[in-house]
Symmetry: C2
Subunit: 177 residues, 2 copies
């Protein structure tokens, strides 16, 4: 069966600093029409950065949309036209104060395919060299290193719930890192 939905019209309803929102009218496979709410997003990266003791960098930051501090892998949004690998190197320097000698592609992640048009690129970084973190002005986070094994346990127990963190950590573990 051809499952394709074809765009009939598109209307932008919000153009923000990070996201844009549009409502599209579509033609369904059965010929009916329906509407689709789409949140366009520039996409982003996350980095599973492992030190010599196989400890991973994590950051704690306040997530306003959830009203609480969350523990996640270092991450960030793509600047306009930026290659994900460039973003990843920048975010690792800004949030953790590290550069990495080795970068391994952990694949892409689509956080929420229904309405949220964000694609994340996941990397594993090793061979770290440290200098001072360079956080964005008005970005507040606390970085630390925890054993990858412990991080995986905290994902499996349900304590850590951030999708990119769970996906990257469990992928890396299953791949033998």
């Amino acid at each position: 069966m051809d499952l394709t939905e074809r765009t009939l019209s598109s209307r932008e309803v919000f153009h923000g600093r990070i996201v844009r929102v549009r409502v599209d009218e579509v033609r369904l496979p059965n010929g009916n029409t329906s509407s689709r709410e789409v949140i366009d997003h520039p996409g982003g990266v996350c980095i599973l950065a492992l030190d010599e003791q196989n400890r991973a960098a994590i950051v704690r930051q306040y997530r306003y949309a959830f009203g609480r501090v969350m523990t996640e892998l270092p991450a960030g949004k793509l600047e306009s036209g930026e290659e994900p690998f460039v973003t990843a190197r920048r975010e690792l320097a800004e949030e953790v104060g590290a550069t990495a000698a080795e970068w391994i592609d952990l694949g892409e992640l689509i956080p929420s395919p229904g309405c949220y048009a964000e694609t994340l690129h996941m990397y594993l970084a090793r061979g770290l060299t440290f200098r001072a973190p360079q956080p964005d002005e008005d970005e507040f986070l606390e970085a630390e290193f925890v054993p990858l094994e412990e991080l995986a346990e905290r994902c499996l127990s349900g304590e850590l719930r951030d999708a990119k963190t769970v996906a990257a950590v469990l992928k890396a573990r299953a791949l033998g890192y």
Copy 2:
């Protein structure tokens, strides 16, 4: 350090069928002000439904926001005020045509904590009994069963990118299912 950001004002900029979007002015920990774009979402569920041969139900459906068909675990949004477990049973019946004797909580997932205020509840379901699927009108999807082992490989290879699918499958595998 207190990382809390305090709401100064909130303005709804879009109220859709599925999502609402607001822009809030916040007080940062350093006393500066900034704005936060928040997409409110009812939340949802996904189900890793395993049959007697340890094959998992997957659904293929057109994801308009990405312009392509994606392979994912069965999933759905919470109706207003609905308990996640009720949603999970309903979606398994609608999309796969199955009821399950055993339900195991696989924890929560926050797909994209930056702006998208969606929380997903993940379940593992076993002891399946089949009847005809009952898809929503205007919902078009194809369900099939594939070995959990194969599904895990397709997550690890990067072929499957949907966050809930990667998280639930790799969690289940790491937990010994």
